[in-house]
Symmetry: C2
DNA sequence: TTGAAAGCGCTAACAC
DNA sequence: GTGTTAGCGCTTTCAA
């Protein structure tokens, strides 16, 4: 732990610029932060000096003074190998881009196994970040409620399931019931009538949400759902086993899945049986993962608008200082990307 | 741009701890940074106070004073959809974990399209990070040489191709020729003799490196390579087209590919022709991507030891302050993950 | 072994 | 409009 990395040649400071421009340090500070306050020619002179020296305000000093680091903390969960839905990665990309536009950088910290709150706590106490974006609200909101109790600024990607109405923090989420309905409608349009659902275990609230989209669409078209649904672990193997059972017992012609991982399980079983996805049996997944995009013949999948979500989250973050009315929740609509599997 | 996020309740400072423990601020600082200097009972008293208040040193203040942010900058390139090899994502995970162990956090910044150096420059001038980890050394070393000219501390994930011997900065790379050889040997063992290569364009030095692993292994077993190689863009469509051409003209029974993306192109063409990967034709990819792990029947792939690479990079970073001898380069060995496609 | 003084680079508050 | 003063929380230096 902790030797110190070699140091850079000291960059120019406010004082250097001030001297070169023949003004006071404060005037340089104003030129950077409140240019309107300066007379035109002074501003020009200072800007020329800034340019000449390649001056950039020192972050640590500014941070210390303003109590704002312009850093957003994001906990990055451990890698999940063998599972298709690496949604977090696409989200990170989107977030880095949108937050940079708003003048923020993303500070990544690891998701420690034992104590989910440890990383947040440390960054909070050391005032390393201005706010957090919380993504792991799926299982429960322990992190959210802890952050709230610490009065830490944060916004959540994911609904506060405990208390969806009277949320005490802003959140952004994807209407995944609508996504599942979209996939189901798509298959119905294609002429399928026996459409199976493979989803997550009942405890998983997002899973139940998605499932309701499927059953809603089915009922809207007076199609049967009995015996056509299963709830399993989110792994390829479970998806495959569920497919086998459903094919044997319920004779579906199409599968709507709660995740690309499960949909890949379906593809595996079809492959093993010599059935052709998209021709013999239709399949849809959820998340438009890399795997969905690349697996032959292409996996139809529900795509979450992560770029929009990231933008809304950053916007919400900036609103955190505003009037402390009831915080807003935003529900975004997913889209369907149709490919060869349907 | 840039409204400021609402502020936290001010955390305790060194002074608070000092008062509670009945010592000077300096003693508290020593308790944190040089505990050996304190008498045992003083240390215990201070630590109790730290514990009680939940004190953590303010990062900005410490940064300002020590000129070290304990942040490592990583430029995150734009997302590449539809391509399998999202190596950067697994790397980010690995890096966040290992750098946290060394007391560093990762600061992500976007890869701006026009000026590859812009993001680095800004962070450097504002002394926002202690060092960079550079990953985009594939195309050339413009970023590396720029950083060097600015005397910025950095280590590279990827060889300095311009000047591999007398490198002026530490680097870590994967021996990808060995990886391609590994895959080729594996297929030879399985009894294949006509093994085709699908790789990247000649300009791509890593691609040529990988190709040499294939041809080396082939020659070592006196197997033919003539007419069995092609160089294409790194896309699924190109991989597919190359496969079609090779199947028609050279009758290979196996394909070694420079990337999982190209290997998926092979799978697509096989799928279209009704050929079964792993039974009729063997295929191997490179990077052990999510897609390789999940596509039926599993894509055999060369796996880069990214976790080890991240660890070596962080270690090299810590050595950056040390004696300024000739910086080290480290070449790590990949492994082969065999799956159904071979 | 502990404490006092100084200052890192910046901006908020105020005086001119 | 511009300059002066003070101080954010910490560590380095030096004195006790």
């Amino acid at each position: 732990m902790s030797r110190v990395i070699g140091r850079l040649a000291a960059p120019p400071t406010l004082a250097d610029v001030a001297e070169l421009a023949g003004v006071s340090r404060q005037t340089v500070s104003n030129a950077v932060n409140n240019p309107d306050l300066l007379r035109e020619d002074t501003l020009a002179r200072v800007q020329a000096a800034i340019e000449e020296l390649g001056y950039q305000p020192n972050r640590a000093a500014r941070s210390l003074r303003t109590r704002s680091s312009r850093l957003i903390g994001l906990r990055i969960p451990p890698v999940q190998e063998g599972t298709a839905n690496a949604l977090i990665d696409r989200f990170v990309h989107a977030l880095v881009d949108t937050s940079a536009d708003a003048g923020y950088h993303i500070l990544l910290f690891p998701g420690e196994a034992g104590d989910p709150v440890a990383g947040y706590d440390e960054l909070l106490r050391s005032t390393a970040v201005d706010a957090f974006i919380v993504t792991d609200t799926l299982q429960g909101d322990s992190v959210s409620s802890w952050l709230r109790s610490r009065r830490a600024p944060f916004v959540a990607f994911g609904r506060p399931w405990e208390n969806p109405e009277g949320a005490t923090h802003p959140w952004v989420d994807i209407d995944s019931a609508a996504g599942a309905a979209l996939a189901t409608e798509h298959l119905i349009e294609k002429g399928h009538t026996r459409i199976a659902w493979i989803g997550w275990r009942r405890e998983h609230l997002v899973g139940e949400e998605r499932r309701s989209g499927w059953s809603r669409a089915m009922h809207a078209h007076s199609l049967p759902t009995t015996g056509l649904a299963s709830r399993v672990e989110d792994t390829i193997a479970s998806g495959r086993a569920a497919t086998a059972a459903l094919l044997n017992e319920a004779a579906p012609t199409a599968f709507v899945c709660a995740s690309d991982t499960l949909a890949l399980g379906v593809l595996h079983e079809l492959h093993a049986r010599g059935l052709r996805p998209g021709e013999d049996i239709a399949v849809t997944g959820f998340d438009d993962s890399i795997a969905a995009q690349t697996v032959p013949p292409g996996l139809t999948s529900v795509r979450q608008p992560l770029e929009d979500a990231a933008a809304e989250l950053v916007k919400a973050l900036e609103g955190l200082q505003g009037p402390v009315g009831s915080p807003e929740g935003i529900l975004l609509q997913p889209t369907l990307v149709a490919r060869g599997s349907s």
